[in-house]
């Protein structure tokens, strides 16, 4: 085992040997090395987060036919550092009537909920935080903390706009968690495990996207809703709620919400890649070197992030009643039916050849999506006719 095959373990063993050589308690040295490893991983993520600010600004500029930051440094690469310096030297205010503890805790929790997601995200076959056997459940638990931080921020700010943003976040959290939970069951069924690494390893022949394209799509929609990005950014809603839940936040506290949202989006891109696109696997390239596996994973995560950005900057914000109706009356029943169909086909065709299994899975997903869209189209046609009838009656 050399450094190029398993860099994390080699480095950790070397450091642990060094520390115990200095006469340190073995158990303590182990914890200290693990602590350092976590610190390095999360610090690298924060540095990456700084460049995400640049990526986001550059991409949104391109979507809107602008150039984006291009003055500070080559291609404007130094721009995010200038942003950070600005955020740091801003005055750190807490509004007068605010609930001080909850108010100051909210941005910390917002960032923390994103960072702890990386505990279960396998970056390469040998580089991952924890090989939890309930990894998928951990994702949901950590996601709930991020929604909680927004509720805390909205409630504690002593501002009406922020409070309305917090209220909306409650409605959104309780709505979109259900399709997400249901769809997370689908990779679990295929892999027979809730372990993230096992989910990647069992995608050796086919990506789960091929087996469940509809599931991947529902997961993406629910993830965008959980992120609170457009078209589901009702908790912020700049044009109606000033800035929503973070109206009263300034300086680095606002920065934590902003950076947390960007990193969260990238993380969900990565998780989408892991659950449905094989994570760090790419035609055996990941076996060459863990460094190549990291590269593959980051590219997949950024592609997922790009799709989330694409949706954000091309879709309009929807109203809260439309959002809840879309979730409770369309997405939730659809995801349950999809789960039942997937479980049934999985049981019936488990022993059939892989091609029969994959094609019937794929076709069942497509047919289900078409039926659901047809029903939705008919319902909305009736709704339009009803509204037009009301309009005509009012006119006469």
């Amino acid at each position: 085992m050399s450094f190029w095959n398993d860099p994390l373990k080699v480095a950790a063993d070397w450091l642990e040997g060094l520390l115990t050589g200095w006469g340190m308690n073995a158990a303590f040295a182990h914890v200290l090395v693990a602590f350092l490893g976590v610190l390095i991983l999360l610090s690298l993520l924060m540095v990456f987060d700084i460049f995400l600010v640049w990526i986001e600004r550059k991409v949104v500029a391109r979507f809107q036919d602008r150039l984006g930051p291009n003055r500070v440094g080559p291609f404007g690469l130094i721009q995010p550092f200038a942003d950070i310096i600005k955020l740091i030297i801003k005055e750190d205010t807490t509004p007068g009537g605010a609930d001080k503890i909850v108010y100051n805790l909210a941005p910390i929790l917002s960032m923390m909920s994103v960072l702890i997601l990386w505990a279960v995200v396998p970056i390469a076959p040998v580089i991952l935080g924890v090989d939890l056997n309930v990894g998928v459940l951990f994702l949901i638990a950590a996601g709930a903390i991020s929604a909680l931080s927004i509720i805390m921020a909205g409630w504690s700010s002593n501002n009406k706009f922020a409070l309305i943003g917090g209220f909306r976040q409650v409605a959104m959290m309780v709505a979109f968690e259900i399709p997400m939970l249901t769809v997370l069951l689908i990779p679990t069924i295929f892999a027979g495990s809730m372990n993230m690494n096992a989910i990647i390893q069992t995608q050796d022949r086919l990506w789960y996207f091929v087996l469940s394209p509809l599931g991947a799509l529902i997961f993406l929609i629910a993830a965008i809703a959980e992120l609170g990005r457009a078209p589901f950014d009702l908790a912020e809603g700049e044009s109606e709620l000033v800035a929503g839940f973070n109206t009263e936040y300034s300086g680095m506290k606002f920065g934590m919400f902003y950076a947390g949202e960007l990193l969260h989006a990238m993380t969900f891109g990565g998780i989408w890649g892991i659950l449905f696109f094989g994570g760090y696997r790419f035609f055996g390239l990941e076996l060459v070197s863990p460094f190549l596996a990291i590269l593959i994973f980051v590219i997949k995560a950024l592609l997922g992030y790009w799709i989330i950005m694409w949706i954000k900057y091309t879709m309009l914000r929807i109203r809260i009643d439309q959002m809840l109706m879309f979730n409770w009356m369309f997405l939730t029943p659809l995801s349950f039916v999809l789960l039942m169909v997937t479980a049934l086909i999985n049981a019936l065709l488990r022993d059939a050849s892989i091609w029969v299994y994959a094609i019937s899975m794929f076709l069942s997903n497509i047919i289900l999506a078409l039926i659901a869209l047809e029903i939705a189209r008919n319902v909305s046609k009736k709704e339009r006719a009803r509204l037009e009838g009301i309009k005509k009656a009012a006119a006469t």
Partner: protein, 117 residues
């Protein structure tokens, strides 16, 4: 070492990093506060009335429906993990279980509880 200890490390470090960033902002930023600056924003007027109102009852119904489905997920995850070994009987049982929940959802829907008022 227990794997949950690593998760605890992630939570500790994940809390320290944002605290550090906010502390840097606290150290380097100016501190010139006055009551007018600290009053909350309200579209160019002085804040009127109380902010901490009570939640609408509508949210309570949504929360109840959510709770039912969330608890259901706890039952379904072990079912999904062991589905390969349990065979067709367990699949049919799972489908019946989900169908009962869908009937509940349709009941809530028909009662008009899912409408945003």
């Amino acid at each position: 070492m227990n794997e949950w200890l690593y998760v605890a490390l992630f939570i500790i470090v994940g809390t320290i990093i944002p605290i550090g960033a906010i502390a840097a902002g606290f150290v380097f930023g100016p501190k010139k506060s006055n009551p007018v600056k600290l009053s909350t924003y309200e579209c160019g007027i002085e804040p009127v009335g109380d902010v901490w109102v009570q939640f609408k009852a509508q949210y309570y119904v949504f929360a109840l429906v959510f709770l039912v489905f969330d608890v259901e997920a706890v039952f379904l995850f072990p079912w999904a993990v062991k589905l390969g070994q349990l065979g067709l009987f367990a699949v049919v049982e799972g489908i019946i279980f989900i169908s009962i929940l869908i009937v509940g959802l349709i009941y809530t829907w028909r009662k008009g509880m899912l409408e945003w008022v």
